[in-house]
Subunit: 249 residues, 2 copies
DNA sequence: CAAAACCCGTACGTTTCCGTACTGAAAAAA
DNA sequence: TTTTTTCAGTACGGAAACGTACGGGTTTTG
């Protein structure tokens, strides 16, 4: 590990800050970035790539730059549902921020992309050393918590169309294009509904001119339309993320 | 404030540790307890008493001793659903642990009781001073987060009966008796379902001999029966709470 | 003690979504 | 290219839960 760290410290391997696109890495004080940088590793994140397994130790923290991670809660009878998504605004490995070393949920790339990762140990070391880093990571964790709470709200109160619209907006926020490369099947798994139900809902969106669909991909045409469908089930976590990442020290 | 703190420091007002029933207060190192004790105030928590209002600054942290707090997420269109409950195992004011001063959700006493509270400022002061206190509070926060995630799972995948059973078990865990003093109406609000739906489900439980019901109150007769109804939707947050509060420093 | 408010039992038509399954078309593998 | 696999479209009966509402009993209020 010290050897690796040494290697990564060679010029050109330690990432320059200008290349970074993850919002947490760009937002943190330079001193904190310097703490992490020697251990950061650029990684390609292929779709379906698993980053966390429930109950198992977290090996790496992933700072997503492109693509979307799905965090999925699973229970003993294998019921599962997505409790949050992570993109360039966030990171995986939230339990590490709380001093835990195990993953609670299943986490995997729902939409492929890339990011920077560092070993869990290096991350917790850095946390121990920097109060400002801790503060930022806790804000990020809180933002994720808010997202989870509103997922619970949507799951309990919103209709399929509203939930689907909400998901599309959250994905869109985290992508650089209007194209969402996903099958109905995977959308259905995340929302915990039938695949056929997603198909029908997407047709409705398409008929209304909100999206265009082709096999394995759908494209947002009218974000405003989708927002109208999602109604108040979308927005609060996003506004809170902004607030948490903007104000104060 | 300094005057109040002074008054509370008079012998007999600073709570003796033996009287404390909140699990966090009893579990923390004596040094941390000493940090909080001068500011702790014994309070009666009447049912429906509001402890947090979404968007508003958190005034006090409540360490619940008896009774149950409902934490309810609300959106712009006033859709609402419970995202977690807090009893003697926990505390309110989680955002303070993360360095935020505002309440995300609505929080109020669902079942009346009592607890200890201290002003938010005193709490954050103590947090700043003690790393062990921070560690404990973060574990508590994480436990709550896990609960919220599994609420999202239950909301999306479980049937009304399963969700109701889950709720009763969570309430039972936090009460000292088998009696749950609640109307169908309030159970319905928390689960985000019809009052009539709760009535029918409770009848089913009663017919099977799992509970006894009277106006405004129901009594658990067969916890095992209720557990069987809840299935795997109950248990993980409880096991994780135990794990988080048991192991390590 | 009467009036009002609250709580629960029950009902009915309706909406939403499920489980299941078959099909053809498109893409990937052989 | 041919075969296999994956994906989307569609359908149907049924379960679950909804919105609404009425009535009767209990508790609280005036």
């Amino acid at each position: 590990m010290t050897i690796e760290a040494g290697l990564k410290s060679i010029d050109g391997v330690v990432p320059s800050r200008a290349d970074i696109r993850n919002r947490l890495l760009t937002k943190m004080p330079i001193s904190d970035f310097a703490l992490l940088a020697p251990h950061l590793e650029m990684v390609t994140l292929k779709e379906r790539q698993v980053v966390e397994v429930p109950g198992r130790p977290i090996t790496h923290v992933y700072f997503v730059e492109t693509g979307v991670v799905s965090v999925v809660a699973v229970n003993a009878e294998d019921h599962r549902i997505e409790v949050g998504v992570i993109g360039k605004e966030g990171m995986t490995g939230v339990p590490l921020v709380f001093g835990d070393d195990r993953a609670q949920h299943s986490a995997y790339m729902q939409i492929g992309g890339s990011g920077r990762r560092l070993p869990a140990a290096a991350f917790t070391d850095a946390l121990r050393q920097s109060a400002t880093l801790r503060a930022l990571m806790m804000k990020s964790a809180q933002a994720f918590m808010i997202q989870t709470a509103h997922t619970a709200l949507a799951n309990g109160r919103a209709k399929l169309e509203e939930r689907l619209a909400r998901w599309l907006l959250m994905a869109h926020d985290r992508l650089d294009s209007d194209a969402v490369p996903l099958t109905h099947e995977f959308l259905a798994v995340m929302l915990g509904v039938r695949r056929a139900g997603v198909t029908v809902a997407l047709h409705s969106f398409e008929r209304r001119g909100f999206i265009a669909a082709r096999r394995g991909q759908l494209t947002l045409i009218s974000r405003a339309g989708i927002e109208q469908v999602a109604g108040s089930f979308y927005g609060i976590p996003e506004a809170e993320l902004k607030r948490l990442m903007t104000d104060t020290p």
